[in-house]
């Protein structure tokens, strides 16, 4: 019975196995990025970037139809362009990053919607907006896995300057020039992971598997390393439970995964060991010193 509900879908159907593999890869790459987005108070930046990807993907779609490689390449180019332009403008003019990014992503989103509506059908639009993790073919899955690998390797390379830049940017500026590079590389990693998520969850929900696990992790740890581990694990759990839920009910897969993550988040807000509401209502006695 339990086997039928929790394991059989994956042993019986190849598309479910691929979906599970995709969700695990997405979690490994996206969740650590999400933790940094949250700690750098950039949670909504991810959202903005997701919209910025749209015109690139739409142009890829215009040129070669529903070809995920073309759409991914287009999305990467658009996302990098917006991220780098916004980053450069804010670094060279002193305009706050969020303000310059907002400008670029709104222009980009308008362009993307224009392009999709010139040629696309409603079905295409739905696919672009919500993705379809159950339709993962092997090349796409490979792409998602490569993206996750690149993300983890690059994150390891820029980890130290990225952390110091998050805590004390002025200090890093006085000892090294790595801060600016680390920041731009980090923006690029956001794009890479959004493009991956975009295949599976669509432009609107791609950020979900990055930000929600980070939000969950914040309620269970005070230190960044365990925070990243918790975020990855909760993203994988959300993905797995979401897939099972979607298989057994009529809930579409992408929203199911994000809803499970949201439920975990709600539970963390209530019962989390670091600042959870229940913990605050019934505090342990204070210490002697």
């Amino acid at each position: 019975m339990i086997h039928d509900a929790l394991i059989a879908p994956f042993t019986d159907f190849a598309f479910m196995r691929r979906a599970l593999a995709a969700v695990i890869a997405l979690s490994l790459g996206g969740a650590p990025i999400g933790v940094f987005l949250m700690l750098r108070r950039m949670s909504l930046v991810g959202d903005a970037m997701a919209h910025a990807i749209l015109p690139g993907a739409a142009i890829g779609f215009l040129l070669s139809g529903l070809n995920l490689f073309a759409m991914t390449t287009g999305g990467l180019i658009a996302g990098f362009a917006v991220a780098l332009l916004a980053g450069l403008v804010s670094r060279s003019t002193g305009v706050k990053e969020d303000a310059s990014l907002a400008t670029f992503y709104l222009a980009s989103l308008a362009l993307g919607v224009t392009i999709v509506s010139i040629k696309g059908t409603n079905v295409d639009l739905l696919h672009v907006l919500f993705g379809n993790i159950l339709a993962m073919d092997d090349p796409t899955l490979l792409l998602v896995a490569i993206n996750a690998t690149i993300t983890l390797l690059v994150l390891a390379l820029i980890y130290r300057p990225l952390v110091i830049e998050s805590v004390d940017p002025l200090f890093l500026r006085t000892v090294s020039r790595a801060g600016g590079t680390a920041h731009l590389v980090f923006l690029a990693l956001i794009v890479v992971n959004l493009v991956s998520g975009f295949q599976a969850l669509g432009t609107l929900l791609a950020v979900g598997l990055m930000i929600l696990p980070a939000g969950i992790a914040r309620f269970w740890s005070r230190d960044i390393t365990p925070m990243i581990c918790i975020a990855v694990v909760s993203a994988i759990v959300s993905g797995y439970v979401g897939l099972v839920l979607s298989f057994q009910t009529r809930i579409p897969t992408g929203p199911a995964i994000i809803l499970v993550a949201a439920a975990l988040y709600a539970a963390s807000v209530l019962f989390g060991s670091v600042g959870g509401m229940v913990r605050q209502l019934f505090p342990a006695p204070h210490l002697e010193a």
Partner: protein, 252 residues
């Protein structure tokens, strides 16, 4: 002793408005220099220029053999995100950047150095606490520990004892004297005249323009101090371009 820092007709400021105007002079290697002056006199601006995060509008600041990595800078209002989940140990450890860089590991020797730095500022036992849990004075001790680890030839402290109690500032001042004894060049912006008289051999009195620069006893006269107060005139939005300096050299 040879000069560690040379200011040659430096003007520093924001949007063409000078905050430090036509400063010329030099700081000897191993000097212990207090920079005093009213609020808005340009002390912080001078330091920002000195450590290289603000480009001079005119003139040049020459730090000679000391490169940017050999300068430890403690800003007045450190732009530190104290909600970031990083431990005291790791935070202080970033002071070892010059030896570890982006990839270098923190070995046993480095751990010992971090532990000794924390002990020197009286923060032993705080290693695993988050930086968000520290008080203002403890945070300042933490920042001094990081400066200690930076092991820099030139140490620039911008109002290090603001809002710090007497015990803490005495402890930290002892560290400053220790650095002085080690022949490091230390420059500190201060408001406590007694502290300056007791501990700093040299003083620069700044009020946008240098009012006096030399031995502390000769600088800290009633005449100089009141002159400094008068000279900190209000910001003039429509100030004309300054023509005092005919050969404005490009900053290095």
């Amino acid at each position: 002793m040879s000069a560690q820092v040379q200011f040659s007709d430096v003007t520093l400021g924001y949007d063409r408005h000078p905050a430090v105007h036509h400063l010329t002079g030099e700081i000897a290697s191993g000097a212990l220099l207090a920079v005093i002056g009213p609020n808005g006199a340009g002390k912080s601006t001078l330091f920002r220029g000195l450590v290289g995060i603000l480009r001079p509008l005119a003139g040049a600041i020459l730090t000679g053999a000391v490169d940017a990595r050999d300068i430890a800078y403690l800003p007045q209002s450190a732009d530190i995100d104290r909600s970031f989940p990083i431990s005291v140990f790791d935070f202080v450890g970033t002071g070892l950047w010059r030896t570890t860089g982006v990839f270098g590991g923190i070995g046993r020797a480095a751990r010992d150095r971090i532990a000794r730095a924390l002990a020197a500022v009286g923060l032993t036992g705080f290693e695993n606490r988050g930086i968000g849990t520290l008080s203002g004075g403890q945070m300042q001790r933490l920042l001094f520990a990081r400066v200690l680890l930076q092991d820099a030839r030139l140490i620039v402290l911008d109002e290090p004892f603001n809002a710090i109690d007497a015990k803490t500032s005495a402890d930290l001042m002892a560290l400053v004297e220790h650095w002085h004894a080690e022949q490091r060049t230390v420059i500190a912006a201060l408001h406590d005249m007694d502290l300056v008289r007791h501990h700093f051999p040299d003083t620069l009195l700044l009020a946008r323009e240098p009012v006096a620069w030399g031995a502390t006893a000769e600088v800290l006269t009633a005449d100089n101090l009141s002159a400094a107060r008068r000279m900190c005139e209000a910001f003039d939005e429509r100030a004309a371009a300054c023509h005092v300096d005919p050969v404005s050299s490009k900053a290095a």
